[in-house]
Symmetry: C2
């Protein structure tokens, strides 16, 4: 367990605050973390020059108010309802490593760095962000509540167009005004920044503006394409990513903003919406880093240039009554996962939320593996963080107990404690262990942190119309998934974990999945089963390892349109599938089976598919 | 004057060192800064596991040796002759703002941060850098000598090809093996990283390597093209930049590594070399920042991904007996200026160097302007750094005396002193002045630092075959340019300065240009005259301002192939052109004149073109 949180409550201020914090029952009630007591000073933004419903840039005034609140803590900041605009120019700046998103020198509007006991109540306010800007970053903060507001970006980081025609190696599109683009002199399609640069206080410098705009165009580059049906607002049956690369030859067609693009992979249905997925993940909506007791309540994320919410090394996080949903005129909300949690502790709770149209999973809750890169002596090794979007993710601290893992089998050799860590750079740490390193450890093997694995509670959420999967459950703490509705093109629930590709630590130990509706999911390419229990274990070791343990699946409803896998079980010890109802629908055409119907079990022990499951409507 | 250097010599160690430093006469002798006394400890690299002529990655061992030497100072590090290889993986990491190059989180092999009295003697060693890596960064250091080695990159950041054919909207090229590329599935040309990733200590992770290589390909993107003649090794007569953008449609042709690229601007001569100029300037060779008494002696820069040497806020810098020159098989050396100096003080000396085939000027010595962005009250303003490659350039310090300047005329209103500075972000500072801000100052006007403008001594250098100009002389200190040879396609010497485009401060006060040979320069598009004295002053103000002062041009030889301008004089007070020889050559075809022959004078006073100049070979 990292020592990061041990000092959070060490000041007398914090202790006074703690005394009145309403702590949330770890199990079932919804949570209210922040202080609502006599000690709270309420700051009304309108008294600090922050005025809604004007075109003014509110960034500087908000940054200063936040910084002021953070200095003393114990503040409630209340916005007047209305729309506020934020631009990068006067924002707070900080270099930030954001797991599974893009690191960088960020411009931040709400910099909650080292904050203690702060509530921000938007009272329904709409926060509109312009250009390359990061809405919220929480770092080393505690007792933070954010509620009752929306975030959106004036120009989305992805782009969209309506399919007009499709032919051999080309596609014709109409690109709406809200997705600025040009076809450059080389005949290449470039999506551009919107012309929403803050009205300059000085005469426009045309040459400089041009340079800046060109620079900004890179923010809107794409990496692949994916089609959506405007009727269902979901990806069509069996539609997958088109791997277009970042640049396409294009030409203008007759008709305003109609273009033809060229690439052999192009396919789609006339009338559908073709999306250009964002190349980068630089601007996630809410970054919650090394922070504890964080509540997001009644927040709407219309757009994020990356994940909607990214929690890393956070302790006790709840998101409730919130939405990730696209704004008017767009089919995409966040350009990556709606939420994502990495090496968190205590609790992660997602309660009564709507997660729709994000371009990746609704959530992924996991740990990370780092690799033994070079063994220097009995006690010392260079440890390398392998995935570029994990670089700079510090999780190895002095005194931490680490699990030493055989990379190819994910088998645990044992534990060891960190004596010292020297950061070489964002990829590599020089690590000294208390005890001699297990002699079976070879370069390529991994370590992960043994910590207070969080209780994961996912209840009452609707997950639909996104790209890829529903939720990735890779947490070793107690995990309860109940009363949710899933309509997703891939696996609704995926268990994985590997130390060779994503370096995401999984291996559940106690999972209950109950009272959910899995509604015509798995209608496309992202997954092998509606509930897909997997692990990245090489063939030679699959017989001997059971990576996932103790999974109960009960009282769920599965609406399915064919007999493909409801449940794919790999490397599991103890799984019970009981009292579920499986209804036959005609939502999509049936597909040829490539496995036995409904269930597959590989390299697992004590798997019980009970007799009490009901199959309705099948011959 | 900034207070940065006041503490450099404040420790007793430093004082002892200073006592034996051989200080260089400010005027004519060559310089030896570093200590050669009894107190110096000599560290031989071979005793620290750093072995030449192997394929091993020497990065970690060198970083550790440098860090050790820097901790105590007063060290001479001696390499054995031979070739050493360096890779980013184990390099030192630091976020660095590098004026006129690209800021970023850098991987540094020689991190001379806070170093005092260090000499590195390569004894002829060749340092070869692989991938995205920064060779030398000096920051807050003093008494640093680097000598007797070369730097090169295994894969250049630009690319080259031989022109096979040219047609309407297309060009055929043969791309040598040393410039890896692919034509992707969209039919777009992408230059790629070389396959020189360090042989991994672990089994290759193919998926990850692919992700990393794709990421690295972006390092080799280009921004424009320019032709070179393999016979003269220079740009051809009247050849200029081809504004191709970053991406071109392309297809493979018959013949190994032969391709056709498409763009309406393409033109060139079959047999010539077409270069793809680097999009980025992320990897300059030597960055010298906030450092004093720095000597580069007998250094060869074969390549840099940006400028060869960038000095910012440095004090007393000398580069002598050194070369910027391309390595075997390449026509380009550094991808930007050979050297460049910004807000330096004391002295900048370039003595007996060869600067050839860099893709921009041999040097540019200037200050910077920043802009009054918003006036808050009588004493306080937001000051904005305008040019993106100057962002993060800190030159406004408490106690500094600043010049307040009318932006459009470059006229000085007066001075004021900095009372406080608060950094908002890399673009904007909140600045409070001692005295009320001159009431004539409006948003859009500028400030620059009044400092110990350096003595600039440029002597005995050869400047040839580069893109653009010879040298940009924009320093207010005494400037002597003597005994140099110039054969450049643009202006050999340019004086400029503006507060609307580049925000580079010029305005010379005392310049002597003598005994130089200007050999058939200005044979292309970069400049109006061989000696081009200019300033960025708006028309309405040109009559009233004299931005440049006191320029003496004597005893020089000008070899010219036509009667275009030798000297274009704008906004000058006192200039004397005397006892120069102008020889007619037939090096290039004569061009039609667009001005009077040889000389033009605009908005200047006391300009004397003496009768003693000799014109030889003209009718």
């Amino acid at each position: 367990m990292s020592c990061r949180f041990t000092n959070v409550f060490s000041t007398s201020d914090s202790i006074r605050i703690l005394a009145v914090v309403l702590f949330f029952s770890l199990v079932f009630s919804s949570s209210v973390y922040a202080l609502q007591g006599a000690d709270v000073e309420v700051l009304y933004t309108k008294e600090h020059g922050i005025v809604p419903n004007t075109k003014q840039d509110s960034t500087r005034a908000v940054v200063e108010l936040i910084e002021k609140a953070v200095r003393s803590g114990n503040k409630k900041i209340v916005f007047a309802p209305g729309t506020y605009h934020f631009y990068p120019e006067m924002a707070h700046e900080a270099y930030t490593f954001i797991s599974n998103n893009d690191e960088g020198l960020k411009r931040v509007v709400f910099p909650l760095f080292g904050a203690n006991n702060i509530e921000i109540d938007g009272q329904g306010a709409d926060f509109v962000f312009h250009g390359g800007i990061n809405p919220f970053i929480l770092q080393d903060s505690a007792n933070i509540t954010l509620r009752n507001f929306s975030i959106d970006f004036y120009r989305a980081f992805h782009s969209e167009g309506k399919i007009l025609a499709v032919g051999d190696g080309y596609m014709d599109l109409h690109i709406p005004e809200i997705f600025p683009f040009r076809i450059n002199a080389a005949g290449i399609l470039e999506f551009l920044a919107a012309d929403d640069i803050r009205p300059s206080k000085i005469e426009k410098n045309i040459k400089l503006e041009r340079r800046l705009t060109t620079k900004k165009a890179e923010e809107y580059a794409f990496k692949r394409m994916l089609e959506y049906d405007p009727e269902t607002r979901a990806t069509p049956y069996m539609a997958g990513d088109l791997h277009s690369g970042h640049w396409l030859s294009a030409k203008k067609l007759e008709g305003h903003r109609n273009i033809r693009i060229f690439h052999p992979v192009l396919k789609g249905t006339v009338g559908n919406i073709m999306t250009f997925s964002s190349k980068y993940r630089r601007f996630p909506g809410f970054v919650v880093s090394d922070s504890s007791e964080v509540l997001l309540d009644n927040i709407t994320i219309y757009h994020a240039g990356g994940m909607g919410v990214l929690g890393q090394r956070c302790h006790n996080f709840t998101m409730q009554n919130s939405k990730v949903t696209p704004s008017e005129g767009r089919i995409i909300s966040a350009t990556a996962d709606a939420t994502h949690f990495n090496n968190c502790t205590g609790k992660v709770a997602l309660i009564n939320n709507l997660f729709e149209n994000q371009q990746d999973d609704a959530t992924n809750i996991h740990g990370i593996y780092a690799m033994f890169y070079e063994l220097l002596d009995e006690h010392t090794a260079y440890i390398k963080t392998m995935h570029p979007q994990q670089w700079g993710f510090d999780f190895i601290d002095v005194g931490d107990e680490m699990e030493l893992v055989h990379g190819k089998s994910l088998r645990t050799y044992g534990t060891n404690t960190i004596q010292s860590v020297t950061r070489i750079n964002k990829e590599i740490n020089l690590v000294r262990f208390d005890k001699p390193i297990d002699s079976r450890i070879k370069p390529g093997d991994s370590i992960s942190e043994i910590r207070d694995y969080p209780f994961v509670h996912i209840k009452g959420n609707t997950i639909r119309r996104n790209r890829a999967r529903g939720m990735l459950l890779n947490c070793r703490g107690k995990t309860i998934v109940e009363d949710n509705y899933f309509h997703v093109p891939g696996a609704a629930l995926l268990f994985e974990g590997d130390a060779v590709n994503w370096y995401e630590q999984g291996g559940v130990t106690d999972v209950t999945i109950r009272n959910n509706v899995f509604d015509n999911s798995l209608f496309s390419v992202w997954g092998k089963a509606i509930i897909d229990v997997d692990a990245g274990i090489e063939k030679a070791f699959q017989a001997e390892v059971r990576y996932n343990k103790n999974i109960l699946i009960e009282n769920n409803t599965f609406n399915v349109f064919d007999e493909r896998l409801i449940l794919d079980i790999f490397s599991v010890e103890n799984l019970r599938f009981t009292n579920n109802t499986i209804n036959k629908t005609t939502a999509f055409p049936e597909r040829e089976l490539t496995t036995e119907p409904f269930f597959r079990v590989k390299h697992s022990d004590n798997v019980i598919i009970a007799d009490d499951n009901k199959f309705v409507g099948f011959d």
